[in-house]
Symmetry: C2
């Protein structure tokens, strides 16, 4: 085995990125292809394979649970990604055929053509670039839930369309958003609260927490309506990038959204002041890349034959790991062994333990290759079914992090995994 | 209490729809407003409040679990909702400013203007109308996971943009999609398999299962490439609507997607035949409305004073119910009582039991009104904290379906709820 002496392999940043992207494509995190890998590297929604999908789902679930469960006063909302009622500008969903029909009308003069096209554009729904506006519009409808008392927050996750530098095109990102409404004098304290909360969350799942940091936005970079801003950064091999941004936005957004109708938000006790908004907005596609990058360990181990062997392990936090257990077969796959695998897999899925049907894939040449594959997938445990299982009911379980193999009875494995996962969830 | 004689109130269809929509807006399923209610009624994504959000999430989770867990050979994928590579036509995301810049170029002749606009349109990403194409494109990259063996499936849920009859506009729907690849001779059997599977799933969560049915699409309504089609219908008060559609699509889609390069999908054993596609595609916004409509019970009960009283209960399946427990206070809310509520709520959220902070809302005038409110929200259990709780640690728990109140110690309630929910999940 490759368990001998291990040392972190020296490796420059770009090599590391290339390695990570190749691994993500080879191991079903993202769909293969250069343009897809480039979308992914830039923190945009790309085509995810089963593992990437599951990782992002876990990440979004943890974010949701942490934000809506941390304070009792956060409520979820869900708004469509396009809307007829948003102002001019931005990106719009235009029906090609209608567009073409106008262009084909030869009786229209140049001026009339422009007029018709403008009309079409303005009547087409515009797509959102962030989740902020949607939450602002839900401020008044939400007041009843909290007896008009501040502070409270609205949380949402969803797709947003953002302009990219590539030929003026729009790209998709999976955003998380908390819009927090509070009294003017507490907004700066609340910003600090949420910065601590968010940074702690990112670090909780990290292998090297110090790669996540926060930085105050310099005053000269603030927009007019913002009084403070803080960014949560991740130290990627190619430099720092912002994963989540927090702003003290003052009362301007609410005043604009409700066009100055102040009475609507008069909170209980008759205070006249308009609530201030603290916004917390993150990019979970980029967040995914951060955790993947953070958890990739490249180890140089000596194998039995003293040959240098590069070992790569995605040490994703147990809560985030997209596959908790892989079910596979040693040499000599037979119909009976496959049936045991299928039964076990079904058992795991029923217990909501994310399991990988490794026995469906082409057999790797050796146990070492099999382990290498699952380490690169970040699979927590590998269960190996063999001839011996048919006779004695015993199987082998390998732990990703310790690389230790244990023998266990087939009837014990589900409970063992359930307990391991819920402990990891509880004490993370 | 309103527990006396109950009978189903006679009510015509339209009244029932109006009642349901009002209830959904009043009880935080959807955001108030007529245009929002209209989107919702038509089965399109609208602005959801916290309860609607949670209901849809539960529904999608159950769909996912049922489809990916039912057979070991279903894998998840996730593709962006817009793409630069899709063919001409359909809806496209156009950047308004670029559009405007072209219209403003006065040096362009009418012909040149049309040319430039066409170029802009074709370079803008097109948005998907269904999840089918994305899955077809992942067929070849997925072959490795299954050792090129049929059958297998790709599952996805996500937003799609669909043309509506309203002024040629696009609306959003939350689709679920399973694209199943199988050998030509088995495709009709697989269609039958998935029809049974899907109908069983819908009925499992229904209060009156017979409102869900399936119907074979008549041969003369099939598209050229489709050899069979089946719809899963729900009997809404205004008539039947299709929730999920299943098609035997033949090999045309795959041949088109891969432009005839047959070698790519040669499965093991060297079979030459191109796999056939069975597609299963549902609208979960409409699905949500179906379950809400199905679970609304209007009961006419006699209260203590012999006054006729209309009682409305959303008897959503325990697995789907967006709120499992509401925490509220009887008369005389004090700081101490609120603290007990907050502690209890925190405990529920940590145990991932979806809880509602009812004590934050304006107090209803009576216990009867409180119960009526939670019945309309479909809340499974209501926990009532009172002065007595401070002294003895005892609280009152009311069951939505039996309307029975029990006294329980504050230390027992979490376990009681956890067990109830996991039992409902297991035996549903």
């Amino acid at each position: 085995g490759a368990r001998g002496l291990c040392s972190k392999a020296p490796n420059d940043g770009l090599d590391r990125v290339r390695t990570l992207l190749r691994l993500c494509a080879d191991r079903y995190f993202i769909s293969p292809g250069e343009s897809n890998a480039e979308l992914f590297r830039r923190g945009w929604s790309c085509i995810y394979g089963p593992l990437g999908l599951e990782l992002r789902r876990n990440l979004l679930q943890q974010w949701w649970h942490s934000v809506t469960g941390s304070r009792v006063r956060v409520f979820g909302v869900n708004t469509p990604s396009s809307s007829l009622e948003r102002g001019a500008g931005g990106a719009r969903v235009v029906e090609s055929e209608h567009f073409q029909q106008i262009l084909d009308r030869s009786e229209l003069s140049r001026e009339q053509l422009i007029q018709e096209l403008n009309r079409l554009l303005l009547s087409s729904p515009s797509v959102r670039t962030s989740l902020l506006q949607g939450a602002l519009e839900q401020f008044v409808p939400s007041l009843e839930m909290v007896s008009k008392k501040l502070p409270f927050g609205l949380a949402e996750t969803g797709l947003c369309f953002q302009p990219s530098d590539v030929s003026g095109c729009f790209v998709e990102v999976t955003q998380t958003s908390l819009v927090w409404f509070c009294s003017p004098r507490t907004s700066s304290q609340w910003l600090d609260h949420w910065v601590r909360h968010r940074l702690k969350w990112w670090r909780k799942f990290a292998l090297s927490p110090s790669d996540f940091s926060s930085i105050e936005v310099p005053e000269n970079e603030l927009e007019k309506t913002e009084s403070r801003g803080v960014k949560i950064l991740y130290n990627f091999p190619w430099g720092l990038e912002s994963l989540e941004t927090l702003w003290c936005r003052g009362d301007t957004d609410l005043l604009q959204t409700y066009k100055g109708v102040r009475t609507k938000w008069q909170s209980r006790g008759g205070q006249k002041s308009v609530p201030h908004v603290v916004s917390v907005s993150g990019n979970m596609d980029l967040g995914m890349l951060a955790f993947l990058s953070n958890s990739l360990q490249e180890l140089r181990g000596e194998d039995g034959k003293k040959k240098l062997q590069q070992r790569r392990v995605l040490k994703l936090h147990p809560v985030l790991a997209p596959v908790k257990v892989a079910v596979d077969i040693g040499k000599g796959a037979t119909v009976e062994l496959r049936q045991v695998c299928e039964g076990l897999l079904q058992e795991f899925l029923e217990a909501k333990i994310s399991a990988w049907p490794g026995y469906l894939e082409t057999q790797p040449t050796s146990l070492q290759h099999l382990n290498a594959k699952y380490d690169e997938m970040g699979v927590l445990f590998t269960v190996l079914i063999s001839e011996n299982t048919l006779e004695s009911g015993l199987l082998q379980v390998r732990n990703r992090d310790t690389t230790i193999r244990e023998t266990m009875h087939v009837s014990e494995i589900r409970n063992f995994l359930s307990k391991y996962i819920s402990a990891a969830d509880k004490f993370s």
